[in-house]
């Protein structure tokens, strides 16, 4: 009886738990591990500048658009992802990337949703302009497996209302890589080796999963995941460029409004994680009434 009430307590606690806190914790741990054990080429000053610029840009945006609440969680996730992925020898570029990431949320919008995943857009701009680079091979197995477990854990702990897009992308991407290996007659150690990149995990669990930039309905998200996986593999094996998923996501993001029009669903709110179906939300009655004049949220 006691165990049951304890479990119920935990359930209630996690159901109201903001998944972003867990994400911040796992990204920070990974960054620390990368700095101390893997000797990532990222300086403390670059981390400070990236985080600082992201928070400042978010704050400035909130002020400029007269939005009520400054919430540092989303910009922190974007900035931590940038710290883990972006490499540059110039602090100004780190700041610029952070500024583009957060700034884009306020500027590039379509029907009250931002169009591009902030981190994805910033990375693509920096890569395309040759100002910085991503080192996708720097992770090593231990970090990769550890991070994979943390990422999967996040799905469990945070109920993961929109984990479908992550799981669908991973299934399509890994499946297609495996199919390619079988077609080539390669041993399966090759596709296994190809997915062993921390950059891929960050992409799948923190970028494509962003509920603010993915289609609203489940069908839409699965179609979107397939399109991104196909584009990613096309970039990798036809253009022979690394970081295929990043290019795939940026190319497919403008299709989201079209997918939303084809398969409509409900808009996502961080405070009320939902899968986007037009059904009655499963969460407890919300204390704060979803007022008629709901302010615009940017996070």
């Amino acid at each position: 009886m006691r165990t049951d009430s304890l479990l119920d307590g935990l359930k209630t606690r996690f159901s109201s738990f903001d998944p972003r806190l867990y994400q911040i914790a796992s990204l920070s741990t990974l960054l620390l591990y990368g700095l101390l054990w893997l000797h990532f080429d990222v300086s403390i000053s670059q981390i400070a500048v990236t985080l600082g610029t992201a928070l400042l840009t978010q704050y400035a945006g909130i002020r400029f658009y007269r939005l009520p609440v400054f919430d540092p969680r989303s910009p922190l996730i974007s900035a931590l992802s940038l710290c883990l992925l972006l490499r540059t020898n110039d602090l100004a570029i780190a700041a610029l990337a952070s500024f583009i990431a957060i700034g884009s949320k306020f500027v590039i919008r379509w029907k009250d949703k931002h169009l591009f995943n902030p981190t994805n857009l910033a990375l693509v701009v920096v890569l395309a302009s040759g100002l910085g680079w991503i080192s996708p091979g720097q992770w090593g197995q231990v970090a990769w497996f550890g991070f994979l477990i943390a990422c999967l854990g996040s799905l469990v702990v945070t109920r993961a209302a929109r984990a479908d897009v992550t799981l669908a992308f991973l299934a399509f991407y890994v499946g297609l890589l495996t199919a390619r290996a079988i077609w080539l007659g390669d041993p399966l150690t090759i596709p296994l080796h190809q997915i062993e990149s921390g950059a891929l995990l960050i992409f799948a669990f923190f970028m494509i999963s962003d509920p603010k930039t993915t289609p609203d309905s489940r069908t839409g998200r699965i179609i979107f995941a397939l399109l991104v996986a196909l584009t990613a593999l096309y970039v990798q094996f036809s253009f022979f460029k690394p970081n295929g998923p990043l290019w795939g996501l940026i190319a497919c993001s403008p299709l989201v409004p079209f997918i939303d029009w084809m398969f409509p669903g409900t808009r996502y709110e961080w405070s009320k994680p939902s899968s986007g179906a037009f059904s009655v939300p499963v969460s407890l009655p919300v204390l704060v009434p979803s007022s008629i004049s709901q302010p615009r949220r940017i996070s």
């Binding site: 500048v49 090593g140 197995q141 390669d186």
Partner: protein
């Protein structure tokens, strides 16, 4: 039995990018990323911040300032890299091959070093290439230039001599600086058709007979190669199949004995190929088929923009700028070989190691002079003005960045070919190790006493660094250094030092 193993080795070599029994050179570099000049970019305070903004900044800025302070402190290390003593000489590693890749945009020139020692009749190489190569795209390089490049980028040993602590103490007193200034540091065309193998082209270049092959299926290619005396190791078929499906062609070279005799050569010269392809990779899979143990590969990249790294394996800088015991001076080759083995183990045998990454204009200290513009052109650097067009006596600015990677690979740990990317990182790195000679003068002053006391601790630290780097036994190291006999008389208890006066 021994005949068999020799033969097997020859068989292996024939089908791979690397050459059989090749004994390569160790190369590496010294400087590391300094990352010192970043502080200026932290001016992110808006000129007219609102009260809320100011409040936020008031919280953020102290944190940022702290980082800036830490950074500036790190940045004071001198760039001087010590007096050059020795380099990790060539021929340290068995079964090693060397490749130079000069690349800008999609234009690539690959030089394959040829250190084949056996009977040249036995020599052959099969290299997957992305395109069919014209005769003009194949060239013979100079082995001496490659040797120069290897020497220039070799891991190096440098030395410093401690100053008289008495005079140094006085100077430091005057300057008010008390920090340690130590630098951080065809024949059967019909048959071919029947097997689905097409000889796309056939040339004789220098002492080599070269074929460019394409094939419909790997079994046919494998049969064709063995019927034409290219002995392919068992199991290569699957790898050939994969390359064929990826639309790769095969560059096959054998020695033309007649041409070789005519040229009067006793050694085989490096083969060079030039092509345009978005694929920035090195095929190593054929080399791992049926291979007997791990193989060594040194890859030298000559690029315009900056450092090259692998995108599908971890690229790791070797430990550098460490002080090691003086006796290593005579055993630098052993030291470096064991250090490398230890690092390979630490990276679970999956790492690719940076030995040198440096702007081709200079070196510090120089294990060999930087390569001339002409030599670089010889290695495929096509983006530079030819020396003839440059003004006489003008110092030539080399727009070339050299990255030297060293990889020990086998099929279990390196299932996939090496894929690369060029970064914009131009920070310098060299595998550099330091000998620091103690001051042996007889002067007496408080600084000299303190110096002598610290010396033993320093030796102990050096011994531990050496043991840690190479896996050598710490006891043996201490014995070789003769630490036990060192100035124990000088050692006093902490309270004796406290109340010495």
């Amino acid at each position: 039995m021994s005949r068999h193993s020799t033969r097997d080795e020859a068989l292996l070599g024939k089908s791979t990018l690397r050459l059989p029994d090749g004994v390569g050179q160790v190369v590496s570099n010294c400087a590391h990323a300094t990352g010192t000049a970043h502080c200026d970019y932290l001016r992110i305070t808006p000129a007219c911040a609102s009260r809320e903004q100011r409040r936020l900044l008031a919280h953020l800025l102290p944190i940022l300032t702290l980082f800036v302070t830490l950074l500036s402190w790190n940045g004071t290390a001198s760039a001087f890299c010590g007096f050059y003593v020795a380099k990790a000489d060539t021929k340290l590693f068995n079964k090693a091959s060397e490749v130079v890749i000069a690349r800008h945009h999609n234009k690539t020139v690959i030089t394959m070093a040829n250190d084949f020692k056996g009977d040249v009749k036995e020599f052959a190489m099969v290299v997957p290439v992305p395109t069919v190569l014209e005769k003009d795209q194949i060239h013979i390089g100079e082995a001496a230039v490659l040797k120069h490049l290897a020497d220039y980028s070799a891991p190096r040993l440098v030395e410093y001599f401690d100053q008289n602590p008495c005079t140094r103490y006085e100077m430091e007193q005057k300057m008010g600086v008390l920090k340690d200034n130590l630098p951080a540091s065809s024949p059967a065309r019909e048959r071919g058709r029947a097997l689905g193998v097409t000889v796309e082209a056939q040339y004789t270049v220098g002492e080599y007979d070269i074929l460019i092959l394409s094939a419909k299926e790997s079994a046919g290619l494998e049969t064709w190669l063995s019927e034409n005396d290219y002995r392919i190791p068992f199991g290569a078929s699957a790898v050939l199949h994969s390359y064929l499906k990826q639309n790769m062609k095969f560059f096959v070279a054998k020695v033309n004995l007649g041409e070789q005799a005519k040229l009067g050569l006793t050694h085989l010269r490096p083969l060079q190929i030039a092509f345009e392809s978005p694929k920035f990779m090195l095929p190593i899979r054929l080399g791992t088929v049926n291979a007997d143990g791990a193989q060594e590969l040194f890859i030298y990249f000559l690029t315009k923009q900056g450092r090259v790294e692998t995108t599908n394996y971890r690229t790791v800088r070797l430990p550098d700028a460490l002080e090691i015991p003086l006796y290593v001076k005579d055993r630098f080759g052993d030291f470096y070989r064991d250090l490398f083995a230890q690092q390979v183990k630490r990276e679970s045998e999956r790492g690719v190691f940076v030995e040198y990454a440096w702007d081709m204009n200079w070196c510090d200290p120089c294990a060999a002079n930087p390569l001339s513009a002409e030599e670089l052109r010889g290695l495929g650097v096509f983006w530079q003005e030819s020396p003839g067009r440059m003004g006489k006596g003008m110092p030539m600015a080399q727009n070339v960045f050299l990255t030297r990677l060293h990889v020990r690979y086998d099929a279990a740990h390196f299932p996939e070919d090496l894929m690369f990317q060029e970064t914009t990182d131009r920070s310098n790195f060299q595998a550099r190790y330091i000998l620091r000679h103690p001051w042996t003068g007889q002067d007496d002053c408080p600084a000299a006493t303190a110096y002598r006391q610290q010396l033993r601790e320093r030796y102990e630290r050096e011994a531990q660094t050496l043991a840690n780097l190479t896996g050598w036994n710490i006891g043996d190291i201490r014995k070789a250094m003769n630490i036990a006999s060192l100035a124990t008389i000088e050692e006093k208890k902490w309270y004796q030092r406290l109340w010495a006066n």
